[in-house]
Symmetry: none
Subunit: 321 residues, 2 copies
């Protein structure tokens, strides 16, 4: 999977996540008291690291996942950085080329830190680096393997409902079409700190709750999908000044949570999960459905699964891998 | 183009690079005296920025290119980072998820700095970001804009014919099906040095010379495409031990040369050009053609063009961008 080594900070409520201690979720997270257990994964390209830590309490420690990711440079602060570095060490010189180590002051070297606390075993597994396998899922496979698997898992998507019901992140909403059938909410993705447009990343979450993924889409959903494409593009242009010709608008299959959502990312940003084996352009999805309402109930779809994913085991048991 | 925003740190001697002042190349580089002229390019994903700066001398300033890139986390220093941060600011909280800004001490936030000094105009051009534009090409656009453009350009693909005729790279051929209509040659791509399998990259070049791209494909080409998928996969497994479940097999649209070819890359390798706005999985292409022989003569196709590409100008002249 192209995005395997990349950062993945999607929010999924796994089984057991709901069983956490309510108090812990409202206390400030004691980062300095965290004991590092192991590095789950790192990405040299993204400058990110995924950690399994433990917070010591009265008895046994409580698990936490901590994701550290260096942030993109901010254009308006680059001059300051050049002048205010605390130290500059020459590393190598060859003709007109030279390289240095530059050590910036703290205020110019922010690290984006994401905490999942308390974390369950499922959270830990999710962030642990794994081998990936390519699956070509026919419609029969979907019906016989994938769908029963999705239904057997009680993935909680309470965080999505919190947003749709304005119980969380209400101040972050960029655009809403309130129609219960063809409406949606557009919010910045967690991965985007909104400081620069280069890595712009928003998510459109549909209001209706009966569409799990691309596989459920038929021509019936065309008005919804066209609303997302048109209104989403307009809202991003209006709020951020980024025109539609600079946006990559797509769905994931498999998605990381089974409530239909659409990704909006800056075209120049090589976003995790934008590779051909996972992303489906919304414009293509619309054209395919307009051509054949049953397109996604006929066509085989390719995706990758990590070695530890239960769905891979289901495909293996069915002799399909 | 997916690879446009990435860092490129190859050192190429451009014309004029040799004409620099020898003294300047041995003096220490005065980073703090650098006046920032403009940001040439930045990469949010790589956390890198390419700067055009000027060093003030006696008369006019001397140009320099300065590349700043944040460095990957070092596993052995992560514990220190968690304890020694100078400040931790809560940004957002929702259920068990929270995000923070963490400000590390200078010694734990090194920036790799590369300087090209003195820099010529060619260096500046090389690092300058080209805007990319998303194009949604209908079949009419293809016939009226793209096809006449391809025909008007005398792109030389002699190097492809040299391979097919064994006049070049004959010793590099991994597999061949010699059939003039449904056959092909599989060779390692130039980008792959064959030293490690992580970035495995091969190209299948078809023997027939009348298929320019995806747009020309119909059900007539299914035997050819199925041969490439099946024999190509088998050949890679046999020669390199990489199974089909670890391969991403796809076509580009637009391709970089108009002689039909198929890319084979390692699934775990985030290869340039594997994003959804350029890549089309061979398995999907085969299924689409099996479903509708005219699929690629009906469907709109999305791709990106850089601001300096002539084809973009043609779309602009036609009022399609």
């Amino acid at each position: 999977m192209a995005e395997a080594p990349r950062t993945k900070r999607k929010r999924e409520e796994e089984d057991g996540a709901a069983a956490h201690d309510g108090a812990a979720a409202t206390d400030p997270f004691p980062l300095a008291e965290l004991r590092l257990r192991r590095v789950l994964r790192e990405s040299a390209r993204d400058k990110a690291v995924f950690l399994h830590g433990e917070v010591r309490g009265g008895g046994d420690g409580t698990d936490a996942v901590v994701i550290l990711e260096k942030t993109p440079f901010q254009e308006e602060k680059v001059s300051e950085l050049l002048k205010k570095h605390t130290k500059l060490e020459l590393q190598m010189r060859n003709d007109i080329y030279s390289t240095y180590h530059l050590y910036p002051p703290p205020e110019l070297s922010e690290i984006k830190t994401t905490v999942v606390y308390p974390a369950t075993e499922k959270h830990l597994q999710k962030y642990l680096r794994q081998e990936v396998h390519l699956i070509r899922e026919t419609w029969e496979d979907y019906k016989n393997i994938t769908l029963p698997f999705i239904q057997s898992q009680s993935f909680s998507i309470q965080w999505v409902y919190n947003i749709l019901e304005k119980k969380a992140e209400a101040d972050r909403i960029i655009h809403e079409n309130p129609d219960p059938c063809n409406g949606f909410v557009l919010v910045p993705d967690f991965k985007w700190n909104q400081n620069q447009l280069d890595d712009l990343y928003l998510i459109a979450l549909v209001h209706r709750r009966d569409v799990k993924s691309l596989r459920d889409l038929t021509a019936e959903h065309l008005p919804l999908l066209r609303n997302i494409l048109q209104e989403g593009t307009e809202a991003v242009a209006k709020r951020f000044g980024v025109p539609g010709s600079q946006l990559r608008i797509y769905l994931h299959y498999q998605p990381s949570y089974y409530h239909l959502h659409v990704h909006f990312t800056a075209l120049g940003y090589d976003a995790p999960g934008s590779s051909v084996e996972r992303a489906h352009l919304l414009a293509d999805v619309i054209d395919n459905l307009a051509m054949d309402s049953m397109y996604y109930q006929k066509r085989a779809l390719t995706f990758t699964l990590r070695a530890d994913e239960l769905l891979l085991k289901k495909f293996q048991e069915a002799g399909r891998v």
